[in-house]
Symmetry: C2
Subunit: 305 residues, 2 copies
Amino acid sequence: MRYLTTLKYIDVVAKEGSIRKAADRLAITSTALNRRILAIEDEIGHPLFERTPAGVRLNTAGELFVQHIRSQMSDVNRVLSQISDLSGIRRGHVRISSGPQTISAFLPREIARYREKHPGVTFQVLRKNSQSAVESLVSHETDTAIIFESLLPSDIQIVSSVSQIVQIIMSPEHPLASKKTLRLQDCLGWPILMPSENEGIRTLLNVGQVQQATPLQTIIEADSFDMMANYLIFENALGFQIPISIKGQYGIYSHLKAIPLDHRDCKPGLLHIAQLKGRVLPVAAAKFQDQLVQRFNEAFPEDTI
Amino acid sequence: MRYLTTLKYIDVVAKEGSIRKAADRLAITSTALNRRILAIEDEIGHPLFERTPAGVRLNTAGELFVQHIRSQMSDVNRVLSQISDLSGIRRGHVRISSGPQTISAFLPREIARYREKHPGVTFQVLRKNSQSAVESLVSHETDTAIIFESLLPSDIQIVSSVSQIVQIIMSPEHPLASKKTLRLQDCLGWPILMPSENEGIRTLLNVGQVQQATPLQTIIEADSFDMMANYLIFENALGFQIPISIKGQYGIYSHLKAIPLDHRDCKPGLLHIAQLKGRVLPVAAAKFQDQLVQRFNEAFPEDTI
DNA sequence: TAAATGCGGTGCAATTTTTGCATCGCAAAA
DNA sequence: TTTTGCGATGCAAAAATTGCACCGCATTTA
């Protein structure tokens, strides 16, 4: 869209923090870019950037304006995809950010299912922790997000939530594999694979752990649940996971045993589908989000909110 | 804003229904305008207008795009007013549509009160019935609306509501003026000033009237409550009004007597403050809306929802 | 039935806007 | 102190927008 070029330019400058770098990326001269920015600042009657020796940085007005720009651009895309929807088969692009719990096992199946019906739709999947997932929604980088156990700011709208208990995963040959449920005490003797501090599961586990006299023996701390799941093939250790990551038992989780952690040690957490409040999603993204919500309902009928 | 000119042009063409007329209004040549439109249609890859011998008309894609344009433009204005808010005193512009019940007595006082605190803020007040008030919100013509007793579509957000009984107004010398409450039967012998069919009060009265054997003697049907109120000076007739129009008793209503209509004949109606769902209002409009909501609460503490 | 009116679209030249090059002044880093 | 990298600016080239004259077409009018 031609009339959006200046806006796009400003966005890039804001991201690069330098007019020259941005000009380089945009394949134009820094002169031209500089003058476009001066022109629009003049028009607004207020500077958007603070000039520093090292480059430029958004000031308050700039922050406001860039936020507006991003919402404009994603809204244009929505309208354009709606328009091209009018003439012909459904095409579109869905941008989703997801925590490590759902990105590996849950999402691939859902995307495949969606693309069976709408082969023209493409996807962009970003692996994000809770906080950066929220940021990606606010900056219009993604349309929808799956976020586990996090307090969400007021400009985020929760579309659906499902309650997820924490499970302990291990090799089927593990001595504990035959139990129906486990308590944290049972894990004391075993090597532990612990999710990173900024993962939702860790938050839940931390609550339980403070009541323990002796701490768990964490041998690996990682933010990749796949890595930890694969590690269980080689050492008789214990990892943590939520049901949605394992449900259906395919891929790397098919050779693992999952046992619920007793609710006295660890409360269930909430897995949210969320979007930016007040935003109208592109057709494809909205439809995919609907599918995810429906999937939550089907897979965990008792626990969906 | 220069980068919005093309969008503005399209909006005007859509409103005028003719490129030449729009060009005239925009003080440019029809050629230039025509080519801008052709260019953007080419860019979108889909026509926005249907060409007829008499001019042009939006097609479906055009409707989508124009809606987008309007939301963009009002959002730009919001951001710009926010930015100019950063440097200096509060300025701004509030656009409000209001039914005849509130526009005459309630709004003037509220606007004056607001301007005492923020003399820089200007107002645009449009007198609208329920349906056109909703339309003005959807088309971003106004920021907020006061709507009486109407079902609102789902893209309108009700910010606050207050319950309003219907009162009968008359000259203080009227024989009925001493009563505490009135029933519709009491009005049978008297000439009646009846609000127009598309007013909320009329809807409420219609419900009561169907139970009556003999109809009311309507001598004037009008959509102006002021006109009807003034008429009561000259003839001993009866009119209808809701408390918010009279509260405070100043202006033309100060010489009138208002008596509640019995609830068996006429249920209370709801007076809504509403805005377009998902829209972020400009600072000034948001503040003024807040004031209105607070006013509802103060004036009718029992009946505000 | 034929002329007239009013519509959107187009070729071409004039005009305005945007861009790129060379260069300046400035401040932080080396 | 020199060097480096930044944004800003004067000026000419390039690109875009605009206005004029005119076309084809459908409806309205005489």
